[in-house]
């Protein structure tokens, strides 16, 4: 359950209604979006990808639905 930099970039720049249900993901994504807005670039996206994938890997069972939504963007 791993996201690519491209998928994460899409998520960071997505401005529609967000369909995530795990609170850690909601808060982490808010942080990542803020960081990306203030410092957009490949390095920021790569760091967000690493952090996001760590969360998704650790909580694979309960975050599967949220992962599926992200990849559907």
């Amino acid at each position: 359950m791993k996201l690519t930099d491209e998928q994460v970039k899409k998520l960071l720049e997505y401005e529609g209604p967000i369909q995530l249900h795990q609170l850690a993901l909601n808060l982490a994504l808010t942080r990542f979006k803020t960081v990306h807005k203030r410092n957009p670039g490949a390095e920021t996206v790569a760091k967000c990808t690493v952090d996001l994938n760590s969360l998704l890997e650790k909580y694979e069972k309960i975050m599967k639905e949220d992962y599926d939504w992200i990849v559907s963007l």
């Binding site: 369909q19 850690a24 993901l25 909601n26 808060l27 994504l29 803020t34 969360l55 650790k58």
Partner: protein, 320 residues
């Protein structure tokens, strides 16, 4: 459960691990042992909300492999990294301290903060006491701190995991305006109300908005509350920092807080929790004294921690 100092002392003597909250004067009388805690005189207990400076709330925390650590301003950024690979952290910060402000503003950006649940609360002595001293307490050290946070890092065995959830009875009023703030912070003068630059304090005065209602922010799909502390000198002060990158709306009015909580709790399939806390503003504004909220027992608090600082919510931790 609510206990006297003598009873708490006996429990501590068993060597089990406890979270203990109560008036600062009572915490200071407890012996060293396997416990951590902080100041409050308001509690969720059997029969509902209680206010007392004579009793302590004692919660036994299951687990064998843990550390109780004290964090100062220099070290608090490592609270996420210091957690066990599989486990959770309970964190207590003293109200109105430098470490409280620092955590509120920066926690979301700490390394590894979201990798394990961090649940906790802001501890405060009664705010109307002239000689109040809000403290966190590290029972393992036998110390209380007005300027440091205390954390329990718990390790869970393989096959178990911790889940942190929030019960927020407030929803954004979608009939009201969208509000954006120019920068992060605890204090606001101007903001954008539906895109128009406005002095926020003036807007609240002109519209007669109920300042007991929090702002509800859209944090990437999660409703996070930011509560109003006071309006003074043309500025609005909050109990948690606003984000310049989040859209807020005022919350819809709630007529019966207890019923609203019971409705949300009734939707849960599992209400067994290791630790719970609820916002003091819900106790006060929602008249929760003696209102039963099921088996969610724990302190009423002056800010809650669900990884980062949140307001006017009930947060709870479960082991699955």
């Amino acid at each position: 459960m609510l206990v006297t100092v003598d009873q708490a002392t006996e429990y501590i003597g068993t060597g089990k691990l406890f979270h203990i909250s109560g008036a600062t004067s009572l915490l200071r009388r407890l012996p060293k042992g396997n416990w951590l805690g902080g100041s409050t005189e308001f509690f969720m207990d059997k029969g509902g909300g209680k206010a007392t400076d004579q009793l302590l709330s004692l919660i036994e925390i299951p687990g064998e492999s843990y550390r109780i650590e004290t964090y100062g301003v220099d070290g608090i950024s490592r609270v996420g990294k210091n957690a066990f690979a599989n486990g959770y952290t309970i964190l207590i910060l003293p109200f109105d301290s430098e470490i409280h402000s620092l955590y509120a503003e920066k926690a979301a950006y700490f390394d590894d903060i979201f990798l394990n649940p961090v649940i906790g609360w802001i501890a405060a002595d009664r705010l109307d006491k002239a000689d109040r001293q809000s403290v966190s307490a590290n029972g393992a050290e036998g110390e209380v701190y007005a300027d440091k946070a205390v954390a329990l890092h718990m390790s869970l065995p393989a096959g178990q995991s911790a889940e942190l959830n929030m019960i927020n009875i407030f929803e954004p009023d979608l009939d009201g305006p969208s509000i954006l703030f120019p920068r992060d912070g605890f204090v606001v003068d101007v903001c954008l109300i539906d895109g128009k630059e406005t002095v926020f304090a003036d807007y609240i005065a002109e519209t007669g908005l109920d300042t007991k209602l929090p702002l509800v922010g859209d944090y990437s799909g999660a409703n996070i509350n930011i509560s109003i502390k006071e309006i003074a000198d043309g500025k609005v002060y909050f109990y948690a920092p606003l984000s310049g990158n989040v859209q807020y709306r005022f919350a819809k009015r709630i007529d019966d807080y207890a019923e609203a909580f019971r409705a949300k709790i009734g939707d849960l399939s599992d209400t067994e929790s290791v630790f719970t806390c609820n916002c003091i503003l819900n106790f006060m504004y929602g008249a929760l004294e003696n209102e039963d909220l099921g088996t969610f027992y724990g302190p009423f608090t002056f800010g809650e921690v669900a990884w980062q600082l949140v307001n006017q919510t009930l947060v709870y931790l479960q082991i699955k």
